[in-house]
């Protein structure tokens, strides 16, 4: 391997953001009510060891969910040629949550924990199809109208969710409420492992398809002329991102805006080419949600906030900023 090759690899942002992941992981491990120094990490007391184990599992979970949401957001934005697209805004997360609640109330979640992500996936795809169908009926595939349709479907999903909660008996209610609280403390390791595997496979697939994804953002005709298959590619992108969104909803409930914030920041810092964007989104989305969750865990000494509160607090103004910037472009 020549010197220039080594230099090229070292200058690749994926490498050093990849190195940043374990650094952040260790720092976030130390934060919390039961604070620990770096030296304690190497030689913990039994009490601290138990706390650290919990924290590690939770950080891992945050990384997988954050990465999934960011990659799904980037994929939706490319497939729909819409910088506002994101699983939460598109109503996909809402659909997934209804699916998951249905799995719990039907008692299927007791049979196997995989019924939750399976039903989430069905709900997510169903919501996505409704949103795209609505936008097409209005004969306007514009970014704002798709976002609007997503908001409508999302709020209908949340009322459906409330309906499910109101008719459920106390035993099922317990399950739904626990899941709805959306803690990133993983309940089952199998589900988390499945989500992590999906995330890795999806990122690898999207990265290999990166150049075609670039072409797809220029519209079907241009993409077709360049040699991509825009229809097939859009189905792959939307289908796989629905799976990622469904997994993260099944693991941790609805967490909004990660898929909007992260791809925008990465594009501004490292450019838009999807071969680089997808792996960077996975890593940065993971770091971002680990950070948000650590903040949610530590801000009040005696209680913790749901992490979705933090991401929405950051994401709402960010959404408005992106919207206003697009106005400036188009006008």
């Amino acid at each position: 391997m020549s010197f220039s090759n080594i230099r090229r690899i070292l200058s690749e942002p994926v490498i050093w953001i990849g190195l940043l992941v374990p650094v952040c992981f260790v720092i976030f491990m130390c934060c919390g009510t039961y604070s620990a120094g770096f030296s304690d990490l190497l030689n913990p007391s039994p009490m601290l060891a138990a706390v650290l184990k919990l924290r590690a599992a939770r950080l891992l979970c945050a990384f997988v969910v954050g990465g999934s949401l960011a990659v799904a957001g980037a994929a939706c934005q490319a497939a729909l040629r819409n910088p506002l697209a994101e699983p939460y805004i598109l109503g996909v997360s809402g659909g997934a949550s209804v699916g998951a609640a249905a799995a719990i109330i039907l008692g299927l979640a007791m049979i196997s924990e995989f019924f939750i992500p399976a039903f989430s996936f069905v709900g997510a795809v169903f919501a996505l199809m409704l949103v795209l169908g609505m936008a097409r009926c209005w004969a306007a595939d514009t970014p704002a109208s798709i976002a609007l349709a997503g908001i409508v479907i999302g709020s209908m999903c949340s009322s459906l969710l409330m309906f499910i909660i109101s008719i459920s008996n106390s035993h099922e209610l317990n399950g739904i409420t626990w899941w709805l609280l959306g803690s990133l403390q993983p309940s089952g390791s199998m589900l988390l492992a499945f989500s992590a595997a999906s995330l890795l496979m999806a990122t690898l697939l999207f990265t290999l398809l990166g150049r075609e994804v670039d072409a797809v953002t220029f519209g079907e005709e241009t993409a077709f002329s360049l040699g991509a298959d825009p229809k097939k590619l859009s189905y792959i992108l939307l289908g796989v991102s629905s799976l990622l969104a469904a997994c993260s909803v099944a693991v941790s409930g609805i967490i909004g805006f990660v898929g909007l914030i992260i791809p925008h920041i990465i594009r501004n810092l490292f450019g838009s080419q999807h071969r680089r964007l997808f792996p960077l989104c996975m890593l940065t989305g993971g770091i971002f949600l680990m950070g948000c969750d650590t903040f949610a865990r530590c801000i009040f000494a005696t209680r913790e906030l749901p992490v979705g509160v933090i991401t929405s607090f950051i994401g709402g103004p960010f959404f408005l900023w992106v919207l206003s910037r697009r106005r400036a472009w188009e006008g």
Binding site: L208, L209, F218, G219, E221, G227, G271, W329
Partner: protein, 271 residues
């Protein structure tokens, strides 16, 4: 072997019909063939199906009946990559929602020529640099495509199509957003490229003066049919233009280049 026996035509449209909605026929049996190395234009009134023909010729739309032969083979039988190395199309509407830089966009022209597991070769980079230079867009290579004006964006998309190094370049209104100077520069770059490569260009345009000057072959469409097909002198006559556009025109031969100049009759000019 088979390919050589068929004919010398690069692309042939055989009796093509098309309708976006049932009952509303856009094309009713369009026939023409384009030999290798030719420059042709399709002209005709608004909504006559000019852009639709381009979309069918590049294989994006399937005709309701009839077929398109690319080098003697039905275009349907080509796979995406194979076809993209032969035909490049620049549509009229260009979306650019994601802020790619101009250089990144032109690089996409090499999509069909590089494996997804490899990087751009030195040859790829040379082609990209040359087309960016030819279309005078190298100066804003690092700017985001969304920030460009319509004309600049149009040049970027033409450069991307040239980077594909196709045998047939299909252009839908390539100069609609360009001023006189840039329009002339783009046309010159296209013609130079066409002569060097021996490729073919088919342009859909409303600009009959430009078509008369640049193309040895003009196809005039009316109501989804070919009304005239031949050199500018044969096609751009007063009679056939009146028939096509339903409006009187004056036509005279320019003393400068000996080619027809078309002026629409306006109220002032009718005395």
């Amino acid at each position: 072997m088979g390919r050589m026996n068929c004919n010398e035509d690069l692309i042939a449209a055989n009796n093509i019909t098309f309708a976006y909605q049932p009952g509303k026929q856009v094309l009713n049996g369009v026939n023409f063939r384009l030999p290798k190395g030719s420059v042709a234009a399709i002209v005709g009134p608004n909504g006559v199906g000019k852009s639709t023909i381009l979309k069918i010729l590049c294989g994006y739309l399937q005709p309701a009946s009839g077929e398109v032969l690319l080098e003697g083979r039905p275009i349907k039988s080509y796979d995406n990559l194979e076809r993209s190395r032969l035909v490049a199309a620049v549509p009229q509407n260009i979306y650019a929602p994601i802020p790619f830089t101009v250089e990144q966009v032109v690089k996409m022209g090499r999509l069909a020529r590089i494996s997804r597991y490899s990087r751009l070769t030195r040859e790829d980079k040379e082609v990209i640099a040359r087309t960016m230079h030819d279309l005078n867009i190298a100066v804003f290579a690092g700017r985001a495509i969304g920030e460009l004006s319509g004309g600049e964006r149009q040049r970027v998309m033409i450069a991307t199509a040239l980077a594909q190094e196709p045998d047939l370049l299909l252009l839908d209104e390539p100069t609609s957003h360009l001023d006189i100077g840039n329009s002339a520069r783009v046309i010159k770059a296209l013609i130079n490229w066409q002569r060097q490569k021996g490729s073919s260009i088919l342009i859909v345009t409303h600009d009959v003066q430009m078509a008369a000057r640049v193309c040895e072959r003009i196809i005039l469409l009316k109501n989804g049919n070919v009304l005239g097909d031949g050199n500018p002198h044969q096609v751009l006559t007063r009679e056939s233009l009146f028939q096509a556009y339903g409006h009187g025109v004056s036509s005279f031969i320019s003393p400068i280049d000996g080619l027809p100049v078309i002026l629409p009759d306006l109220p002032d000019a009718e005395y």
